[in-house]
Amino acid sequence: MSDVVEKTLTALPSLLSLDSQPGSTKLSSTSKLGTLIRGITELTSKHEEEKLIQRELVSIKEQVSSPNTSMRQMKELMVRAIYCEMLGYEASFSYIHAIKLAQQGTALEKRVGYLAVSLFLNESHELLLLLVNTVLKDLQSTNLIEVCMALTVVSQMFPKDMIPAILPLVEEKLNHPKEIIRRKAVLALYKFYLIAPNQVQHIHNKFRKALCDKDPGVMTASLHIYLQMIEENPEGYKDLAASFVTILKQVVGGKLPMDFNYHSVPAPWLQIQLLRILSLLGKNDPSTSEIMYEVLDESLRRAEINHNITYAILYECVKCIYTIDPKSDLLEKAAKCIGNFVLSPKINLKYLGLKALTYVVQQDPKLALQHQMTIIECLDHPDLIIKRETLEILFRITNAQNVTVIVDKMLEFLRINKDDYTTIDLVGKVAELAEKYAPDNEWFIETMSTVFSVGGDLMQPDIPNSFLKLLSEGFDSVEEDRKLRLFAVDSYVSLLQGEPGKLPQRFLQVISWVLGEYSFLREELEAATVLRLLAKLLDMKNTSSETKSWVLMAMTKLCERGAGVSVAQEVSETYSSSLDTVLRQRAQELQHLSRHSELRARVLPRDAGLEPLEVDSSLSFLDGFVSEALAAGAAPYKPPHQRQEELAQAKALSLEPYGLSLPISMSSCSIADRQSPTLLSISSGLSGESPDLSHKGGSSTLKLDGVKRLWGREGYLAQREPVEESARVEVPSPLRSPSQQGEADSSHSQTPIPTPEPEQEKQQLASSLFVGLSSQSSVCLMGKSEPTPQRFRRKAKSPGSSSSASEKTSNSLVSTPSTVDNLMCNNLLDSNITSELVVSSLEQTSQLSQGLAAANGTCDAELTDSDVKGSSPSLCGDNAVAAADPAPHEDPCKDLLLTSHLPAELSGLSHSEITPLCSNQSLDLSASHVQKEDSLVLVVFIYNSSDSDIQQILLELDSEEIEVSCVCDSAVQEASSHSVAVCQYSLTVKTPSVHVEVVGTVSYQFPAGTPQSLQFSYKLPLTCFIRPLTVSTEEYGTMWLDFSHDTKQNLTLISDGQEPLAATLNVLKKKLQLHVVEIIGMEGIVACRLLQDQPCLMHCRLNAGTLAVWLRSPVPALPDCLMYHCQRALQEH
């Protein structure tokens, strides 16, 4: 097909210029839109286009506002206005007219009106309110297309507050006979759910109904809602997992109509949606995952055709398999699948393969090892997207041994990358890796310098923050701290001597702080030199004032003696008249402190970055000032949290973070000063004590607190600690050069691959990249604890905690038991549920038997006075009444007499009233039916009332609805005088109807007479054939989806008890022998079967004082018949 398009489109230029070409007729050269488009294509400059469009817009504006313009012309004008808007020119004057068109136009004009509205406005536009009435009207229209249009616009945009106005109408559409309307209604509800979940909370059962819709398209649409709801609360929908699995099974098995196929793949959109839902439900849930394995395996197997669409399904399958509780053979297949993606020559598949690899590499690092050569190739791929994804994989497999190579690759990418978002992301990752795994000082400082210069002012502010914090806090070895700082100073001085103008502001701030703080470490470096370098920064015209204040602060720390002071004086004079108050403040400080070296030494003691200062937290030295101010009429001070509260009450704004952090930090006051000049020194020091809370503050300035640092711990410094020793067994000393490590590790960690010569280089790269992976793999695989270094790196840091290696171990140690905990929790929960179920079912059973006993009791009382009949649950009197046409009661004696003739095996069971069938002088026929658990037995009593024996009695029964089979050993031959002969028949329903009838003939012969015959009929209600069906809620859900015949009706509710639903269901249970599966709030589910085993399911819901009953069954007429009986049972009650 695309070839055809290709051909047609290559002819485009010629078509545009020549009107006489074939095809140009449909291009509407005469229409005004055509003229406009043509006009634009002829133009050569943007300026001309603008002029033309502005002219066009003026003319459109004139016409739309003219009262003489017909709706038909309006439609044409709207199309032109849409076109102008698409070209980027505003036509807001036409918005209101678009709404008018949708309101007043005929169906075809309406269509354009709605389209224009949906293109012009977005859901927060105020004009949209004017559309509400139109939508309301169209939803009620009898014209299907108008209803469709209204639903379409509603599912694209609708003002949130107006949802209640149209919700009932949309809900109503869920019952529409046309599937297209139902489908659109479901999608409209989906939209409502997205923008205002609370508005549709009460109709969750409707979603369920949509899920059970007989049209697969409507069901598919409902999955959007379910995906969303399950994403938010997977626990709430576990019961549906089995149903989703069943649906997927049916889809995969090709059970859907052909219409849903896409390039001969059954309903791929549906499949993918289901797979996504399953992965959400199966995540961290072994028992739910368990039921999915089979269908996932099936999906993997079925997707064979080499087409994009099957790959799409495979990809989703793989994602699902890796998300749910793992199963080894599935994982194996999924891994193989990922391999196929990665190795595919198709670039799109390769990309997704890499993505999948990124996704699973932490669980299964071996997979990355398997594909290392592909990864290496992709690292040099011309497409940056591929390259980028490869780096993402590498980032996740970085360890202390391969960090230098990987970071190199990332920096290389950063230098050619132009996309800001990627830069920000990648810079953060490099910084993270550098902090975690840096092999030595030089490398760390250099890498961070590159990060700062490349990341520039885009990068997350916490990167320089944590870097400076790391530098100032130091590690456990004083000597190493000194070396690191010294190296930083050296490196920054040389940077400033180069071309500082090219460095980003953030980097300059870092440099100034480091130089101000630590340049004294380099003894041969004169403070004056540094001061001059810093002063140079002040003179550069693109230095921001924020940076300048950092520089001034640094200078204040440096201006100790001699030449430095004069530089400082000069600078401070320039800036003490600055318009920027912060700069002026800094300049004043600089001026004063440079003059009084003693004061300076006290205010800014050298290398005191971390030493806690004693602070008078009550600020008592200000008491005089305060009392003076109060006396002068100032408002008394209110602590911040109090102010917040008042603010919150006034504005209802939640400003929690401040309310939390401030009071805590006030209580514990020790100050580390001299850190960030743009931040109040008090607050920086204060929050240092509560690192967790400090994140919550603003991030516009550098904050040097609360940032956890790992570098040094895991890197080269930490290993001096004895604790580290154990870790060292696994991680070869990073102090060795990378190449050495590579050799050392490749010997044991990699599967040797025979290498052709030119591959040598790649092999080397591979060995340096994938080093240490296999040793790590065991650790990672064990916990499956999703190690996210970023998270625990930044989180709670207890000062003076031991090495991060031990942290890491403890982390993995903790995480494993936690999964175990989860498992146990789940199991516990499960067992709770089961036991509950057991209990409830026991309760039910006992209730049932009680009820039945009672029913039997009445039954007995009616029939006999004393005789207590069968105890097993069965027939109730009501049934019998409904059963046979009420006949005049025979005297009880006869009944009793006949009862005694019941076959022995049936005597224990309850039976219906014995009904006379027919009689003549010599024969008296009666019948009764006995309900056995798995069958219905019809017993016919033949009473010979004559004085002679009757021979050759032959009974023939027939029925349209019922299959009658003679119970063998009851073939009657003869009946002696005044005695009873008994025949038994077993009955099964062929086609359900409200009542079933058996017609029969009895033929007999007196020994001396001619053959005679009698005819009779016996009517039974369908309810005799109904038995309870014991299923679990889950099974019920699965079955429900499978059944195609249904009926719905509102029935009267029995409300004598407190709970009408339970009371009503109880009546139904007693009278019709249904099994109540579960009652959930306003809903109840009930199951029964028609003998032998034709299931019928019932779903009831309380709805405005009635009981909305929905029956479903695979048997065509069964739901209708049963509905009739339910109705009667409730009416008779």
Binding site: S2, V5, L12, T30, L33, V79, L115, A267, I347, N348
Partner: protein, 157 residues
């Protein structure tokens, strides 16, 4: 799906459908930058992009680029098939579609899109059913219009 854009090789926007509420300014900015980014890519390159914080799926059919922005967890390959099915629909409706059909009858292209995707989700994936729905609505149009001058409106029907 967040939005769908159709633009020509020259970077001219042919169709835009936004499923997330954005201001006009943002829309214009995204359109401008995305069109540039996509046009700069070479033919053999990957059809998927991680662009800003979005996932972009695009495909070129002759001189037209079809470009979708999808949610992070959405499936890229199936989005590619959504584009393909849309092209198939256009092709079937217009009878071997070309860019000109879409330029001059863009409102039809929108109608088809609305019948195929609703609120950013595939609503009806059967080619037959989508076109049936469109044709029914079109039919309505013709019936209503027949008493009037057909010639005048011929370009728009």
């Amino acid at each position: 799906m967040q939005f769908m854009l159709l633009f020509s090789r020259q970077g001219k926007l042919r169709l835009q459908k936004w499923y997330v509420p954005l201001s006009d300014k943002e829309k214009k900015k995204i359109t401008r930058e995305l069109v540039q980014t996509v046009l700069a890519r070479k033919p053999k390159m990957c059809s998927f992009l991680e662009w800003r914080d979005m996932k972009i799926v695009y495909k070129r059919y002759a001189s037209l680029y079809f470009c979708c922005a999808i949610e992070n967890q959405d499936n890229e390959l199936i989005t590619l098939e959504i584009i393909h099915r849309y092209v198939e629909l256009l092709d079937k409706y217009f009878g071997s579609v070309c860019e000109l059909d879409i330029i001059f009858n863009f409102e039809k292209a929108y109608f088809i899109l609305d019948e195929f995707l609703l609120g950013g989700e595939a609503q009806e994936t059967s080619k037959k059913n989508v076109l049936k729905a469109i044709e029914q609505a079109d039919l309505l149009q013709e019936e209503a219009e027949s008493p009037r001058s057909v010639l005048e409106e011929i370009g728009l029907t």
